[in-house]
């Protein structure tokens, strides 16, 4: 079972989100884009497993700022109408800021029994299952009355509103509720089957304290994996430990009250007092086990090491079937935190193996590390920017996702979040442009990514993600005798942050050869080496193309080392680079 869709409204900077999700969800985005808020929002409709408990009641600050501002503006604009009852309660209700998170759950056939209470709709032969969390006034009428009385007693206008913000949005009248969409609140008995565990970015302290050091997870693993016979052994060993203790300390003689008593027969009584083992419950015996690494206490390990071990133990313990919970959610912020590259790879492989085999756990994690993006499962990725979220699985169709997956150089971080980025149509172009950029120090903040075809969907998504950023995207494409495709792509030039340029000729090589004095430059430098001395422009271009890899590699090497300063960039590439550096087209 997994959450296949999530809708969020007015939670922190997530004003309005509606995205499709996969069994594993990888969230990427720049700082402040809303990744942590998304992770937190997902957990709100679910009960917490005890580790890292977070309360469900929210605060004034958790309500989306722009929603709050719209609401205050509404009060200012409609003050008179409210006071004269021209605005009905029904109308007013629509303006009250409410936080709502709604998830759709997709069960497997074998899980239908557990979700049956979550069904809320039937369409096309399928039952939709879901849960919502809502933070809203308990009683709209009370809320309305309170606001009215504030408006009556205070002069609310755009100046004074700042001092009355809390009174005009009295959060103490709010309450949270969890239920099934359309149906309403549900009982704890049902809810307790759906749990979450979260590991937040501020976990450094958590992994430091001795008691908390993942011991609960560890005990759970021990409980689940030890066989009955093993437990008998443990008990026997524990008794032996006690006997040894007794023998060594000679404890019976240490407790020797009779010598101090003057009463006769006192020893009869006192001799019967003896020391018994305080046989603890199995779980408290396990509690005396603590995580360590190479024989050292875990708290002595470095931050990265600690995080790594904690994460793995935690995930491991969640795999153990919990008889109560039928579905677990694990949210982890930046699993790569403090880890060196080898350990990041370790975590990545662990997560991959784990998600492949586990069905009753859905993992959500945010990351800034390409190692933690499974290139073969791009549909798992959610891109975030400025409080908006886009899921690759809904933005692209299967074929497009497959195409993206096959691209070995795909770096989503660079593609969507780099300040300056050039998309090109092939490795040759990438190589050539990179070589040029390498030769100019001032251009080294430009990223180059190669594709084979079709940029439109990528551009569309790039535009959504970068709607408010100042990032720039340049696109260098081949003409390929397709005027229509050229026209379609060039229409994106209307956008200030995008520049699309297409070769005049069929491909790149003749374009280079035909630019300014390049023909002469190339003949002079490579005439001997490649036998280009007696060739015409066209012949040279053709030969270059046929020898593609070898010739291009040589030329690029020289270009990047600065031996080809005289070589000019073809006009369309120069145009893109100018655009990226100056913003002018």
């Amino acid at each position: 079972m997994y959450i296949s869709n999530i809708k969020i409204s007015n939670y922190r900077n997530l004003k309005n989100i509606n995205i499709e999700l996969a069994q594993t969800v990888t969230i990427i985005g720049s700082n402040n884009s809303g990744k942590s808020n998304l992770l937190k929002a997902i957990t709100l409709p679910f009960l917490a497993d005890e580790i890292a408990y977070v309360g469900k009641n929210l605060t004034w600050f958790d309500i989306n700022s722009s929603t709050k501002n719209d609401y205050y503006q509404f009060l200012i604009d409609n003050k008179v109408s409210i006071l004269t009852d021209k605005i009905t309660l029904e109308d007013f209700k629509k303006q009250i800021p409410k936080i709502k998170i709604e998830v759709n759950v997709t069960p497997k056939k074998e899980e239908l029994y557990y979700v049956k209470e979550l069904g809320y709709e039937i369409s096309e032969g399928n039952i939709s299952y879901g849960l919502y969390y809502e933070f809203a006034p308990v009683n709209d009428l009370d809320f309305y009355k309170t606001i009215k009385s504030v408006l009556e007693s205070e002069d609310v206008n755009s100046e004074t509103v700042n001092d009355l913000k809390l009174n005009l949005l009295p959060i103490e009248l709010y309450k949270y509720s969890i239920g099934v969409p359309n149906k309403g609140p549900i009982s704890y008995d049902i809810l307790k089957q759906f749990k979450y565990t979260s590991l937040m970015a501020e976990r450094d302290e958590f992994s430091k304290s001795n008691e908390k050091l993942g011991s609960k997870s560890l005990v759970k693993i021990l409980q689940a994996k030890l066989k009955d016979r093993d437990k008998i052994e443990v008990e026997k060993e524990y008794s032996r430990f006690f006997d040894t203790l007794k023998k060594i300390t000679n404890i019976d003689t240490l407790i020797n009250w009779q010598e101090y008593s003057e009463l006769e027969n006192a020893s009869d009584f006192f001799q019967k007092i003896n020391v018994l083992p305080n046989m603890p419950a199995m779980s408290s015996i396990f509690n005396s086990v603590r995580l360590g690494y190479e024989g050292e206490n875990l708290s002595m390990q470095g931050l990265g090491q600690r995080n790594l071990i904690l994460l793995m133990v935690l995930i491991n313990s969640l795999i153990e079937k919990d008889s109560d919970a039928v579905f677990n959610i694990l949210t982890v912020e930046e699993p790569e935190a403090h880890l060196c590259i080898n350990n990041v790879r370790l975590v990545a492989s662990f997560i991959k193996a784990f998600t492949d085999k586990n069905n009753c756990l859905q993992l959500f994690y945010s990351t800034h590390d390409t190692e933690l993006i499974d290139k073969l499962k791009l549909q798992n990725i959610v891109l975030m920017s400025e409080g908006n979220a886009y899921s690759i699985r809904s933005e692209f169709n299967d074929e497009e996702i497959n195409y993206l997956s096959k691209n070995p150089n795909l770096d989503l971080f660079k593609l969507f979040y780099a300040k300056k980025c050039i998309l090109v149509e092939g490795l040759t172009e990438e190589l050539f442009i990179r070589a040029y950029l390498d030769s100019k120090k001032e251009l080294n903040d430009i990223e180059v990514i190669s594709f084979h075809k079709g940029f439109k969907r990528i551009i569309d998504l790039w535009l959504k993600i970068n709607i408010r950023s100042s990032n720039r995207l340049g696109i260098v494409r081949d003409y390929d005798d397709q005027p229509k495709a050229k026209e379609e792509h060039h229409s994106y030039n209307d956008n200030k942050f995008i520049c699309v340029a297409t070769t005049e000729k069929y491909t790149l090589e003749p374009e280079i050869v035909n630019t300014e004095g390049n023909y002469e430059v190339l003949k002079e430098k490579y005439g001997e080496k490649f036998g280009w001395n007696n060739l015409s422009k066209e012949q040279l271009s053709d030969d270059w193309r046929k020898n593609k890899s070898y010739a291009m590699l040589e030329i690029c090497k020289d270009l990047s080392s600065g031996y080809l300063e005289k070589l000019k960039l073809p006009q369309h590439i120069q145009k893109i680079i100018d655009f990226l550096t100056t913003g002018e087209k």
Partner: protein, 450 residues
């Protein structure tokens, strides 16, 4: 697939059924449930006990419940909303008026407040799973979706005391069978005290899948001989226990109350109460629930601006006060004025509250207290007292022979004892059949102690 086991009284139905449940459990996939449906809490507890004894606990996937709980929890609660866009928040068992018109009125009133009356649970479950006359094509399609979801996790269904199957549940059951669910039915048409006759219908419909278990492990041989005298050949039982006592006592010859007091009976039962015997049992819970409900409704109407939770708790408090005050006053008007001196009820509210108070007051405690036969169904005892009245005597003495619920009552009455049974011949029976005939007739069943 359907399997029907017809098993008479004391045939070890519960043991037999719990074995089959465990077998079905052991052969099922780990995500599929085995449902066991009984008609009383008592019967469902018995099966739970048996399974606990064998497995140590009741596995999550074995769901044992009463019919109402099963239909509500497994069918109405998850799926009613999806078809009819209504989500019941509560189930109520308040007293309903006997007049069907008023009874429906009450049910509709509850319905408006999202409360489901226990009486209509089978009907509503049928609407979800089988059909409702007003079904649209969209609802019909949606129903198929619900059925296939249910089929995914339902391994098999067991039904205990199937003679209590009513007409709505009968339709649901036929639907289960048509959908291919394995349904295992155990019951005894001879113990159909409500006269639904649905088990007989199932037996004739699936006659090839019926197995008769005619051994009785409970009753002594001679008791069985007596009960066999009113049973069809196919269902005549045999007992593996030695004879027990059958005593005949005439009401005319003894002081009934001191006789009963001195005899130490495990079970005492009569067909229905009469001027001497009273079968009133503890139904006060239902009645005060009715009073609570009426009071709560009225208070919510009058004080609509108050916190509803607080009103409910106030209603509960005042319902108890009304009830105890009226036990003393025996006058509803007075009680109501006394408890609520300032509150003005509308005439309709007033009438409803008074009515509810009357209901809770009418518990009549005159007469000798015994059980009704309905009440002791499914129970057994070493020393039983059966008070014979004319309705049952006509069947015992073969004056009437047709199979019906009255005859079934007689069968139940004769098959309760593990050892001894006393037949108390009431005066009306003695007057109708005469002492010598009665003695002669019962002597045929040997060892009869007069």
């Amino acid at each position: 697939m359907v399997n029907i086991k017809v098993a008479g009284a004391g045939a070890g139905k519960t043991t037999n059924m719990s074995d089959s449940i465990i077998e079905s459990y052991n052969n099922s996939l780990p995500h599929r449930n085995i449902y066991c449906i009984a008609f009383t809490n008592n019967a469902s507890d018995n099966i739970k006990e048996k399974i606990k004894l064998k497995l140590g606990c009741i596995p999550n996937r074995i769901k044992i419940s009463t019919i109402h709980s099963f239909l509500y929890q497994e069918i109405i609660k998850p799926y009613y909303f999806l078809l009819f866009n209504k989500d019941y928040k509560k189930v109520s068992s308040i007293e309903l008026p006997s007049e069907p018109k008023w009874s429906n009125c009450k049910i509709n009133e509850l319905d408006k407040n999202d409360i489901l009356h226990i009486k209509v649970i089978p009907q509503r479950a049928k609407w979800v799973f089988v059909k409702k006359s007003s079904d649209t094509s969209v609802q019909k399609e949606a129903r198929k979706t619900i059925q296939s979801a249910f089929l995914e996790y339902c391994e098999s269904i067991f039904i205990d005391e199937a003679q209590d199957i009513d007409k709505d549940f009968f339709e649901i059951l036929n639907n289960f069978i048509t959908l291919g669910i394995t349904v295992n039915i155990v019951g005894d048409p001879k113990q159909d005290l409500k006269g639904f006759g649905k088990l007989d219908e199932l037996i004739s419909k699936y006659e090839n899948n019926v197995e008769y278990i005619n051994t009785c492990h409970r009753c002594p041989n001679n008791h069985i001989n007596l009960s066999n005298s009113i049973v069809d050949d196919l269902q005549k039982q045999n007992s593996d226990k030695p004879n027990g006592k059958i005593r005949i006592v005439f009401e005319s010859e003894i002081n009934v109350s001191s006789f009963i007091e001195s005899s130490n009976f495990d079970l005492k039962y009569i067909s229905q109460k009469n001027s001497t015997f009273n079968t009133q049992n503890n139904t006060t819970y239902f009645e005060s629930e009715t009073l609570f409900y009426e009071l709560e409704t009225a208070l919510k109407e009058i004080l609509s601006d108050k916190d509803m939770d607080k009103l409910s708790s106030a209603a509960y408090f005042y319902a108890n006060r009304l009830s105890s005050a009226n036990a003393k006053n025996k006058n509803e008007d007075k009680t109501l004025r006394e408890v609520f001196p300032h509150l003005r009820f509308s005439s309709a509210q007033y009438a409803r509250i008074c009515n509810a108070m009357k209901l809770s007051a009418c518990a009549d405690s005159s007469g000798i207290c015994v059980s009704s036969i309905e009440k002791i169904k499914g129970q057994e005892g070493y020393n039983c007292l059966f008070i014979l009245t004319n309705d049952l005597a006509s069947y015992l003495f073969q004056e009437k022979k047709e199979n019906n619920k009255t005859k079934n009552k007689l069968y139940v009455a004769l098959t309760r004892s593990l050892k001894d049974i006393t037949l108390l011949i009431t005066k009306e029976v003695e007057a109708k059949f005469e002492k010598t005939f009665i003695k002669e007739y019962l002597k045929k069943f040997s060892d009869i102690d007069l």
